[in-house]
């Protein structure tokens, strides 16, 4: 199927890191069922390192592939490196997404940031609100 790159299809049909982390210390969920995409990210962070990450996604092939790729890109990395992950990097790692599917990679970035914010909140760590745009600003659901 030429709609998606081989990388996207690989991550869609064999998604990495699917599931839940029961003792996660950072959980983020973005999107809504009305617009057709929901991503939920579970983080297990120890000593500023993302020891484990899992995801659950309701959405199209590129949403599932973006979740899979994004979790793979931050696993084992520091929280600062995870904070620096961009939707562009996710899309590039997937060898590109069709233009009307780019919001799926945006959602992946936001889901991870959302989970990191939850971690900061739970740990009582200070952070700058500006670093965590919520998905409401996206035009997708409007």
């Amino acid at each position: 199927m030429a709609l998606y790159s081989e990388k996207v299809m690989d991550h869609f049909t064999h998604p990495r890191n699917v599931g839940v982390i029961e003792d996660a210390n950072g959980i983020g969920e973005v999107g809504n069922a009305k617009c057709g995409d929901i991503m939920k990210i579970y983080l297990k962070i120890e000593d500023d390192i993302i020891k484990d990450v899992k995801f659950e996604t309701f959405g199209c092939g590129s949403a599932i592939a973006s979740s899979s790729m994004a979790t793979e890109m931050i696993k084992g990395k520091s929280i600062h490196e995870a904070m620096a992950l961009t939707n562009k990097a996710v899309a590039e790692a997937l060898d590109g997404l069709p233009a009307h599917k780019l919001h799926c990679s945006v959602l992946a970035e936001e889901a991870i940031k959302n989970a990191l914010k939850d971690y900061y909140d739970r740990a009582g760590l200070p952070y700058d609100e500006k670093d965590f745009p919520d998905c409401e600003h996206c035009e997708h659901c409007e």
């Binding site: 009305k34 057709g36 996604t57 309701f58 092939g61 949403a63």
Partner: protein
């Protein structure tokens, strides 16, 4: 196993249609407007094809205009009725909420011009009643346009009843019969249809060809200006190979309507029965008045595009009304019109069958669809929320 279950999108061409086309690409390639013999032979083929199409619909050959397909026919029919109505000061049009975009977008255009468009509600029984049409007709109604059968959910509308009501009220009646021709018994005279649109590729004919039936005497407005082809109502050199292919496919389909319907509806019913066993699912469309080949479901907690991609990997070609497959942000207007909420409409699946499908293929579908639905639900946060009670089941 490769299973093509997207016949409502388009069909594989029949050998009959291909054979009917070939001579008009090889030896009889003339322009029917030409005076010489190669042209006149093409003209004879054109006349014969028109005769065949007219016979299948129960009308006269001169009442058939060949077009580029169903969309063009819909546009021309609706615009023509609107222009006629306008002259008489009538600017009210009745249609339904689940029409094809070829109809809805044309109506939208007329609405901007000042026409009043009334779309009948289709939530009750996923269909409309003739009474709804009767109640909606006003002295200034210039057109009733309803599809013959719905492309996504398979509901067959009460066309003969609507035709009778429109005739009595003196209101022109157009029907988009793209999904019905070759599959259902149609007789435009008996069913009081003034205009009817059809498309060649929905019954094993070629793509890019269709026809508009227009009752004799009804004034058509040109959508395409130019030469005097099609009695001056549709310019452009006739696509003779496609016209001949469509006519041959149409005759073959119409000659076998009952046996095809019996075979296809048995497969349809098997799928509907089997897929209904998937928990938190719902069948879409009228279960009694239903196209023989249509199976349409919504599955809660999953999204349609990922469903289609995984089915494709298992060799099953299907379609969905989810936003991600439409290229727009909203799920199918048809599913929303019958009252499915966004969350559920995203998880839709349409399987559309033809007489070339087999029971073995149905078994394959019935094995694969539940597996794929279960797999996608296992990674869906929505499904988890439904199961843990954080979210309430809709289906």
């Amino acid at each position: 196993m490769q299973v093509y279950a997207d016949n409502a999108a388009t069909t594989k061409m029949s050998q009959t249609a291909i054979d009917a086309m070939l001579p008009y690409m090889t030896t009889i390639y003339g322009n029917p407007s030409s005076l010489h013999s190669v042209g006149q032979e093409a003209k004879e083929a054109l006349d014969a094809a028109r005769e065949t199409v007219a016979q299948c619909l129960g009308c006269e050959p001169r009442e058939i205009i060949f077009t580029s397909g169903g969309s063009e026919a819909d546009n021309q029919a609706i615009i023509s009725a609107a222009r006629l109505g306008e002259k008489k000061g009538k600017k009210h049009i009745i249609s339904t909420a689940f029409e094809h975009h070829a109809v809805l977008h044309t109506l939208k255009k007329l609405e901007k011009e000042g026409f009043e468009i009334e779309l009948l509600d289709v939530r009750q029984g996923h269909n409309i009643t003739a009474q709804q049409v009767k109640d909606a007709i006003r002295p200034d109604t210039c057109l009733v346009t309803t599809m013959y059968a719905n492309n996504e959910i398979g509901s067959i509308l009460p066309i003969p009843e609507i035709g009778a009501i429109c005739k009595e009220a003196g209101v022109p009646f157009h029907t988009d019969a793209v999904q019905a021709v070759g599959h259902l018994h149609i007789n435009v005279k008996e069913q009081n249809i003034d205009m009817l649109s059809l498309s060649g590729h929905k019954f094993h004919g070629p793509k890019g060809i269709g026809a508009l039936y227009v009752r004799k005497g009804f004034p058509l407005v040109n959508i395409i200006e130019g030469g005097a082809q099609e009695r001056g109502k549709r310019a452009g050199t006739e696509n003779i190979p496609a016209i001949c292919g469509m006519a041959a496919a149409m005759k073959e389909a119409c000659d076998h309507i009952d046996e095809n319907a019996a075979k296809v509806s048995a497969m349809r019913d098997k799928l509907i029965e089997g897929l209904s066993k998937i928990p938190h699912s719902a069948v879409n469309g009228d279960l009694v008045h239903r196209l023989p080949g249509n199976v349409s479901f919504c599955f809660e907690g999953i999204e349609g595009e990922s469903l289609l991609l995984l089915l494709d990997q298992k060799g099953i070609c299907a379609s969905s009304g989810s936003a991600c497959t439409s290229g727009s942000l909203d799920p199918s207007h048809v599913l929303l019109a019958i009252g499915r909420v966004h969350d559920v409409a995203h998880g839709s699946l349409r399987l559309s069958l033809c007489e070339w499908n087999t029971m073995e293929e149905m078994d394959h579908i019935l094995k694969c669809v539940p597996e794929v639905v279960e797999y996608l639900r296992s990674m869906s946060p929505v499904w988890r929320d439904l199961q843990t009670g954080k979210r309430t089941y809709i289906l």
